[in-house]
């Protein structure tokens, strides 16, 4: 249970642990991608996961969302062990993931993309017998979600392909925020974006936290990480090298731990 993780971090014993990994190992033949990694995400925080290429960031995230099955180790959601068969299982458990290569249907409009796979049907006979989509309600809900997140977009009826990269990422993040019940995982959400658009997406990530959801942010971008993260989980050689905060450590410290120049 989370009791022993709480004793480890006596400083912040009040925060509940939402998602936890214990001693997770993942090997591919002779290659060890995860070498007994621990992970801990607390309620309502933004946890950045950083690490050099090949340090095991992606594999860790995939293991947490069921895209990869760990060779050994334990994953706990709200303190209970979980075994996700695939990303869909994780989604049903309340974990939403925003992928780097935007998982969108470009020719469909914003509302359709927000509700893709979770479409709303009309009420009454039209919905139950004729299976008719409630396009109006989906548009309204989509518009409400976007304005709640204070993300500005052209008309909700526009095709996603007509949007800029930042706006598209905004839709992807909004989709996760709209449906996540526990936490949102974001894999390099700002990698393809310009400075101004990056700012918009970071703002969105903050508003997700304001909604009470925990966020895992995988990023290469140190200034972004330091601007937004509550804690930083540093990966090195398939293990957790350290967990630091932007207040306790500088960017140089973090890079030094990442590269192994300094032992954590």
């Amino acid at each position: 249970m989370s009791a022993d993780s709480m004793t480890r971090d006596a400083t912040d014993a009040s925060s509940r642990v939402v998602l936890e990994a214990r001693n997770v190992v993942k090997t591919y033949g002779h290659v060890t991608a995860l070498d007994g990694v621990d992970f801990e995400l607390r309620a309502g925080e933004i946890l950045a996961v950083v690490g050099d290429n090949g340090a095991g960031k992606s594999t860790l995230i995939k293991a947490l969302t069921g895209a990869v099955h760990p060779t050994s180790g334990e994953i706990l959601l709200d303190g209970a062990p979980v075994h996700f068969k695939g990303p869909l299982d994780a989604r049903h458990a309340g974990i939403e993931t925003v992928y780097q290569d935007l998982a969108m249907a470009p020719a469909l409009d914003i509302a359709s993309n927000l509700f893709l796979g979770r479409e709303l049907r009309c009420e009454g006979v039209m919905g139950s017998v004729f299976r008719r989509l409630d396009k109006k309600r989906m548009r309204e809900e989509a518009r409400r979600a976007m304005s709640e997140l204070k993300f500005r977009l052209p008309s909700i009826g526009n095709a996603v392909e007509a949007l800029s990269g930042g706006q598209r990422q905004g839709v992807a993040v909004a989709r996760a925020a709209l449906f996540a019940r526990k936490l949102v995982i974001m894999d390099e959400p700002t990698a393809a974006l310009g400075v101004r658009e990056t700012g918009q997406v970071l703002e969105l990530i903050r508003s997700i936290r304001e909604r009470g959801l925990a966020v895992v942010l995988i990023s290469h971008n140190m200034p972004n990480v330091f601007e937004i993260a509550d804690r930083i989980h540093i990966m090195r050689l398939g293990r957790r090298a350290a967990v630091v905060t932007p207040q306790s450590h500088s960017m140089n410290d973090v890079v030094a731990i990442m590269t192994g120049a300094v032992a954590a």
Binding site: A103, M104, A107, L116, L133, S155, I156, A162
Partner: protein, 328 residues
């Protein structure tokens, strides 16, 4: 821009955006243009009788093109369209000629066509084989098998039920066959599926970005299977309509049906890359081909020119699609 401005924006796009975003507007303009040209050059073109003829001539390809549209929207292609339809006509004709109940015979034939669609879908979705190759294979197998069954030759099918779709009724001066009405009903039904249901939304999503569809939890393979199944059923109905037009089961018929149905889909503005387009465009596309053939025939122009003009239209349609995709 503040949150208030967002709220004041309309949910639905403007009329202009809608027109530009609707792929069937271009084809509709082409159809109207052809109709005007033919009407001006030949007064007989707009006669109610001639319009009925155009519709009757469009029925088979128009119906087959519904299934073809579904398949192309998933970024596939169906080269077995004509062969599956011929399977329906031969099986129904054979059974009736052997003395079986005509309703049973036609029902069984349609079921068999649906099964052929299911077989194609299983190979494409289950074994992840390319639709082009699978349907090409089914085309070859069915063509050969049907010639063997019918001993190479065509045979007449004289049964009032099988020919029923060719019967006519008068609607305000227009002579309509039941076949035309069945085709239009199918268009309405499948249009509803594509535009108003989750199933249709997912057809577009799979054609657009199968990986994204999978990630949001759409069962992509099962969905593809249902698309080919429905397409097979539609080809079976087309077989009934074909027997209503010509009461003859011919294993060598419909050899151009594959390309004709693809032509209707493409001229109708549906992208061969999948995920874009729609059924209204296909109906217009089928009508464009029908109007063109009819108008040029009325003008006494060599039929070869019809194929030539149709070919040009296909290339223009695909070029326009490519250009709009590149712009995006």
């Amino acid at each position: 821009m503040s949150t208030a401005t967002i709220a004041s924006q309309q949910d639905t796009p403007s009329l202009k955006a809608r027109l530009l975003g609707t792929p069937s507007v271009g084809p509709l303009l082409v159809l109207v243009a052809f109709c005007i040209i033919f009407a001006l050059t030949n007064p007989r073109f707009l006669a109610t009788q001639n319009i009925s003829i155009i519709l009757q001539q469009t029925v088979i390809i128009g119906t087959l093109a519904i299934g073809q549209t579904l398949v192309i929207l998933t970024a596939g292609i169906d080269l077995a369209v004509g062969a599956i339809c011929v399977l329906g006509t031969i099986v129904a004709g054979k059974l009736v000629n052997l003395g079986y109940d005509p309703v049973f015979s036609m029902g069984f034939a349609i079921l068999l066509c649906t099964g052929a669609g299911l077989a194609a879908g299983s190979l494409i979705a289950g074994l992840r084989l390319p639709p082009f190759i699978v349907t090409l294979g089914i085309l070859g197998i069915l063509t050969a098998a049907l010639r063997l069954i019918s001993e190479g030759g065509a045979f007449p099918v004289r049964d009032p039920f099988l020919a029923w779709t060719g019967n006519t009724m008068k609607v305000g001066g227009f002579v309509l066959t039941y076949g035309i009405l069945i085709m239009l009903a199918l268009y309405g039904f499948v249009w509803y599926l594509l535009n108003q249901t989750k199933w249709g939304r997912h057809v577009y999503a799979i054609g657009n970005n199968p990986e994204a569809a999978r990630l949001v939890g759409i069962p992509v393979r099962r969905h593809l299977l249902s698309v080919y199944l429905l397409a097979g059923f539609i080809y079976g109905i087309a077989a009934w309509l074909a027997l209503g037009r010509i009461p003859n089961a011919d294993p060598n018929a419909m050899q151009t049906a594959n390309l004709d149905s693809i032509t209707a889909v493409v001229i109708g503005g549906t992208s061969l890359f999948g995920g874009r387009g729609g059924l209204i465009g296909t109906l217009i596309g089928a009508l464009i081909v029908g109007v063109l053939r009819n108008g040029l025939t009325l003008a006494g122009i060599d039929p070869l020119w019809q194929d030539l003009v149709t070919g040009i239209l296909v290339i223009i349609a695909v070029a326009l699609d490519q250009m709009s995709r590149r712009r995006n």
